[in-house]
Structure formats: C-alpha cells, structure tokens
C-alpha cells in the first residue's frame, strides 16, 4: 500500500473485515441471499456494485457542497439510478446470459442499503479521492462475502465452480458421485444463504470478540 497513506489504506482494509458492510453493519443482505447460488453471478454482482458505489461516491462527493440538504436523498437516488442503468445496459450488451440470471437484481442495486448508506455517511462529508477509496473498500467487503457465500452454495448445491464440474458429473456418476455423493438441494434455496452468512458472522465474531454486540 505504498501508494496510499495509512489513513487512506484503512478506508479499504476496514470494510473487508472489522467493519464489513454485510457481517457487521448487516446491510445489503437481500442481494447476498438472492443471487449467490452461482459463483459467477456473485462475482458479477460484486463488480457491478463496486462500479456503482465507487463512481457514485465520487460524484456525490464532488457535488457535496452544492446539494441542498433538504433534497439530498433525491439527488443521491438520481445519481445511483443513472449509474445502475449504465451497468445494466453494459451487462445486457456484453454478458446477456448473466444479466438474465441476475434479472431484476441489477436494477435493485438502487435499493442496496450499502450504497445510500455510504453516500450519506461518507461521500457527503469527504473529498473525492477518499470517497472513491471508501466506495472501493465497502464494495470489496460486500463482494468478499458474496463470493464466499457463492463459492459454498455453488460447490455444495450444484457440485460446480464457475460452471466447471469440480466434483464429477452427477448424471454420468463420475468423481465423488460414483461413491454415492449427492448435491445438496437446500444450498440452492435462499434460506441456506442466510444460514451461510450467519455462520460467517459466527466465525468472525468468535475470532474477534470485540465485535460482539452488547445485549
């Protein structure tokens, strides 16, 4: 991190672990449950959110001194909506199949609480470069959890990773399937994503007890 000062580096590293948007702030859960059945979709979602959040943070930060505070939510919505439409169009143009899988959830990035949360909490009060780093950091923290959840759900639920049959072929009965292994259909259902996120939260808090909330 030679490029960044210590304070700036913290903007990126904090949201990855001790201030993770999903496991600590518990934001952006809906999309973490909805699209993580495949690893590929998780990665694309993570990248999309990163683009929207980083650019959006910069835009809001540039405008922070001229937005009247009474209508700032509307301005933020316009910015995020514009960015989401761009991302959606790019996906449709270059990765049509994936945009089908993600369906409405790309559009629903608008409602992802992390984005409005960072606009409100950070971009409105900080300069563009720091806001940019904050956007990258938070989106990376979000994406990290998405990718972990997507990894386990795709591996255990479909026996594949990014579409490759890593555990063997369930129909031809090769690899693990030859000895009677079967895919866990529960993993493909959203409730299991919630449980996987819960397990990540459990592990994280048991390793760092300072994160445990008071009752």
């Amino acid at each position: 991190m030679g490029l960044l000062s210590k304070k700036d580096a913290k903007l990126i590293t904090d949201p990855l672990a001790d201030n993770n948007p999903i496991t600590i702030q518990v934001l952006g859960i809906c999309s973490a449950l909805a699209i993580t059945a495949e690893l590929k979709a998780s990665i694309v979602m993570a990248v999309s959110v990163m683009a929207v959040l980083a650019i959006g943070n910069v835009v809001i930060s540039l405008m922070r001194n001229i937005i009247p505070s009474k209508i700032r939510i509307i301005v933020q919505l316009v910015v995020v909506a514009a960015l989401v439409i761009i991302v959606d169009q790019v996906l449709k143009a270059f990765a049509y199949e994936l945009s089908k899988t993600l369906s409405v959830f790309v559009g629903l990035i608008i409602t992802n609480c992390i984005i409005m949360g960072r606009f409100e909490a950070f971009a409105l009060a900080n300069k563009p470069w720091r806001s940019f780093l904050d956007g990258i950091g938070n989106a990376a923290g979000y994406g990290l959890i998405l990718i972990i959840v997507g990894f386990f759900r795709e591996l255990l639920g479909s026996g594949t990773l990014l579409g490759f049959k890593v555990l063997g072929d369930p129909i031809e009965k090769t690899g693990l399937y030859a000895i009677g292994y079967e895919n866990n259909g529960f993993m493909l259902l959203s409730p299991m994503a919630l449980i996987v996120v819960g397990i990540i939260i459990w592990i994280q808090r048991s390793r760092n007890t300072a994160l445990v909330e008071d009752h």
Partner: protein
C-alpha cells in the same frame, strides 16, 4: 460398581482441565451424579431431565420395533415372499424372524449414526465451551431414525444431524434454548436438501432403490416400489390399503410413524407419566378434524370437480387424515416437545389446534410437501413464544381489571 468408582476417580483426576466435561458427561450419562446441591430450596422429585427423556424413549420403543418389522414386511410383500397381512396373518412366513431382521439390520445403523454423530457434537460443544454436556440429544437421537425413510443413505443422515444439532440447537445456546424442534429441523434439512431420498415411491421400501439401480444395470429382476398413502392421494390415484392397515401400520412410510395404534399407546403412556401434554395432543387432533371436515364439506357441496388436482386429498374422509402420514407421530412425540411448544395451558390449546389445522391444509394444498405436519410444527414452534406472550398479557389485563373493580 467398579466402573462407577473408576469413572469417579478419572473425573477427579481431570477436574478443571479441558477434557473435564467429557469425563463428567460419561459419568452422568451412565450413573447418577455423586454430588447434590448444598444450599437453596430443594424440591425433591425423581424426574430429572435424563429420566424424563428416558420415559419418552420408552414410549417410542414399540414404534421402533414395529418399524423394524414393517420394513421387512414391506420388502417381502413387494418381493412376493409373503402375502398381505389380511390374508397371510396366520401363515408361518408372516411370523418368520426374517421379516424383523431385514428391518433390524437396516434401522440399527440409522440409530447408531444418529446417536453417534449427535452425541459427538454435544461432547464437542461441551468441551469447547467448557460447560457440562447436555442430555438434550437423547430423545432427538431416537426420534430421528423413526422419521426418515428406511433406505436413506447414512452419510446424508449424518450431515443432516450435524446441521440440525449445530444450527437448530447449539447456536441458540443448547438444550432448552432452541426455538425449533431439532429432530424436525433434521428432517426438514433432509427433505429440502435431498428430496429424491425423502419422497417418491422408492425410498419407503427396503431395497427398492438398490433394485432400481440393478435393473438399470441390466439385472433381470422385477422392480419393487411402495408409495406412501399421502403420495398416492396427491397424485390423484386410488388408495389400495384398508383402514385397518393404516391404523395398525402395515403401510409404507417413514420408519416409526406408520402404526397409529402403537403411537396412540405411546401417547397415552406419556400422558399418564405426565410428560406429554394431553392438551396439545387433543387440540391438534381437533384442529385436524376441523380442517378435514371443511375440505370434506367443500367436496360434498360440489365446489371442486374431480378433475381438480386437490380432489384426491380433499375428498379423503376427515378421520383418515389422523391415521395416514406422520400426523399421529408428529402430534404425540414432536408437537409436545416441552422446549419448543407453548408453555401456558391456554397457549397449548391454540398451539395444538393450529398444528392440526395447518398440517391438513399444507397436505392438501401443497402436494409437493406431502408431509404437512413437519412444516406445521416447525411453523408453530416459531409462533409459540408469541402465543404465550399474548396469553400472559391477557391474564395480566384480566387481573388488572379485577383489581380496579375491587378498588372502586
């Protein structure tokens, strides 16, 4: 006494070390603890948690033994070795030990896996968290083999037990703190994770899946299959089993839930031992009958036609619903689980009624989930604290009113 003394010495030796809970666990599992409470109020009763649980297990033993017999009976019946119970009851083949032994060798491994994995996790958590081991798994461990199909692969059962005990119970704080019934959590996990092993017409008869695979590989055998009554009805087919078969349990189904007669006996035993709540059992049956009557009424007033996909299950006579599927077993052994059920007496009536009511509703309206009672109990487990809250609040209000009237 030698073992007890040795265990006691070991326990003293390891006192205060990391493995202490494990030795304590073995000790209290086999014998009464040798310490008693030193101060505070004492209520003397013979029923500790362990004995309560053993009573429930005793109530389930007839179901287990019959389940073993029925597994072999269904297999031999399908293979053509014996005749149906109505014809062949007095024939020597019916009473041959072979019927029992087929099921015995199939079901004992289920019991061993269930207890081995489940108690293993309890031990592990006791050692890691440094508390005494909890006996909570004793009943769950016996329930689990009774509510799965006889042919379920053992590794699947093991995975489900790990999930059920860790996610269903330990994360909430262990025995007595769980919201959902662990045995049903395990079954629900199996049902959603491996649906092909929890439904259909193969898994309920011992050896049917194996035989299907052999035939697919080119063996010259007749296929065997056995659909549960609920499965048959959901597909709109006619049921071939008589009511007596349903009541006595000579039908395909999960290991221990087929014989309504033995479940009722077990239930009576629990009621007389004052362990199972008769309020829940009774109100659950009432709820099921009410829902069954509503559906029968819908059919007899001609609101749905025979072409409807609900016709088969809706037109089932209301009291048949009590005999088929896991309804009786769930009501007697799982709805009454003291940890997850409502605690107040009024709450128990509401809780039980809704379990019965919803069970039949789920059965009829969602043929993809033929076993409505599992989902109904899990749902009501979640609502039990809410029911209790309103019952208690209602009582508080009533007494406040009385107080006001007295003062005025």
């Amino acid at each position: 006494m030698g073992l007890k003394n040795n265990l006691h010495k070991l326990k003293l030796k390891y006192k205060g070390t990391k493995m202490a809970p494990a030795f304590n666990a073995i000790h209290t599992f086999l014998y009464l603890p040798d310490e008693t409470t030193h101060n505070g109020t004492h209520i003397k009763a013979a029923d500790d948690l362990k004995r309560t649980m053993n009573t429930v297990i005793m109530a389930m033993v007839p179901c287990l033994l019959f389940g073993m017999f029925n597994a072999g009976y269904q297999h031999n019946l399908q293979v053509g070795e014996i005749q149906a119970v109505t014809v062949g009851f007095f024939s020597p083949e019916f009473w041959a030990l072979d019927n029992f032994m087929i099921g015995f060798w199939k079901i004992i491994p289920l019991v061993i896996v269930s207890y081995g994995v489940g108690l293993g996790i309890e031990f592990l958590f006791a050692v890691i968290k440094g508390h005494e081991v909890e006996e909570g798994y004793l009943v769950t461990g016996m329930l689990v083999p009774l509510i799965v199909p006889v042919d379920i692969p053992l590794w699947m059962l093991a995975v489900a037990v790990v999930f059920g005990v860790v996610i269903g119970k330990e994360v909430f704080g262990g025995t007595g703190m769980n919201i959902l019934n662990p045995a049903l959590t395990i079954r629900a996990f199996l049902f959603f994770a491996y649906p092909t092993w929890m439904s259909g017409d193969k898994v309920w008869v011992e050896g049917a899946v194996e035989r299907t695979n052999e035939i697919a590989a080119g063996a010259n055998l007749d296929a065997i299959s056995g659909e549960t009554i609920l499965g048959t009805l959901a597909q709109g087919k006619a049921v071939t089993h008589s009511v007596a078969d349903m009541f006595l349990g000579f039908i395909p189904g999960s290991v221990g839930e087929t014989s309504t007669l033995l479940i009722v006996l077990g239930g009576l035993f629990l009621v007389f031992a004052k362990i199972g709540s008769w309020r829940i059992m009774l109100s659950s049956c009432v709820g099921a009958i009410v829902m069954g009557l509503i559906f029968n009424g819908v059919v007899s007033s001609g609101w749905i036609t025979e072409t409807s996909k609900f016709y088969g299950l809706m037109s089932t006579e209301f009291w048949h619903h009590l005999l088929i599927g896991g309804f009786a077993f769930g009501t007697v052994f799982m709805a009454t689980d003291p940890v997850t059920a409502s605690q107040t007496n009024k709450g128990k009536w509401i809780y039980g009624f809704l379990i019965g009511f919803l069970s039949i509703m789920i059965r009829v309206f969602n043929p993809a989930y033929p076993e409505g009672v599992m989902l109904a109990i899990l749902l009501m487990n979640v609502f039990a604290p809410t029911i209790d809250h309103y019952v208690v609040q209602g009582n508080v209000k009533k007494r406040m009113k009385r107080l006001k009237a007295k003062v005025a």
